[in-house]
Symmetry: C2
Subunit: 160 residues, 2 copies
Amino acid sequence: MEPVIFSPVGVVHSPHKELSGMPVQPPSAAGIIGEIEIFPEFSEGLKDIEGFSRLMIFYHLHKSAGPLLSATPFFDTVPHGVFASRIPRRPNPLGFSVVRLLSCDGTILKIADVDILDGTPVLDIKPYVPEFDAYPNESSGWFEGKLSGIETKRSDERFL
Amino acid sequence: MEPVIFSPVGVVHSPHKELSGMPVQPPSAAGIIGEIEIFPEFSEGLKDIEGFSRLMIFYHLHKSAGPLLSATPFFDTVPHGVFASRIPRRPNPLGFSVVRLLSCDGTILKIADVDILDGTPVLDIKPYVPEFDAYPNESSGWFEGKLSGIETKRSDERFL
């Protein structure tokens, strides 16, 4: 099948300047503020976005080292397959975070719960719609029992 | 910023052969069965995936016509920005569905609630982890009050 070529539509500004020591998921980043700057040619795409309280951000893990098919994630001590984990070294380095939307001012989205590296290229934004996206009672596989302390969980150097 | 090149890691097999008349979101596709065939070179990436009851599928909307910055979505009668909607004609045609995982047999994932076109290239799979991904109480913006009848909602020809 043919490769797919995506072009960034914006960029993330965040306090996270290094891959090590970062929050590993949005619940590890509660209250951490950042911005998404949408490039001016896409500004029309933001119409009515301020009605949503959360957004799904799809981005290029642009500092990811090459792919791994399995690895030991931050939340465990044994390896799991890349498609059964959220490790950043993926066959296609596509990042995904569900963040809070605080405001939209022109082409600047102010967001919270930001676990994304500063300078990250944004590929798409979709509004979080609980009817489509929220499934609170699903099983978390190997994550079960491993998420205590998530609020302060930080990345280490294992994927650099 | 530089373009990003992604290569498919698998392909979706589903009963949906045409873009028109399809379920528009997984809740419109409850019980509809399909498969994801992961290409053999990525099989190691599936290790431990069977512990999860839902997966997030990231895919190329490979039959999408060119991008629109705003359009009238299936769920409304007035236009909204592409980043405030789930319309398929996006600046980067990246699809996202949260589906049920029924089984994993070798490189074949049997899935349910499938709203994805047959033959769709899969770019990534991540396990759905409610602690990271489920926010049932968020506001749905312009979708509020527009989702009655979602169970049987089907696409029409507006985006062809």
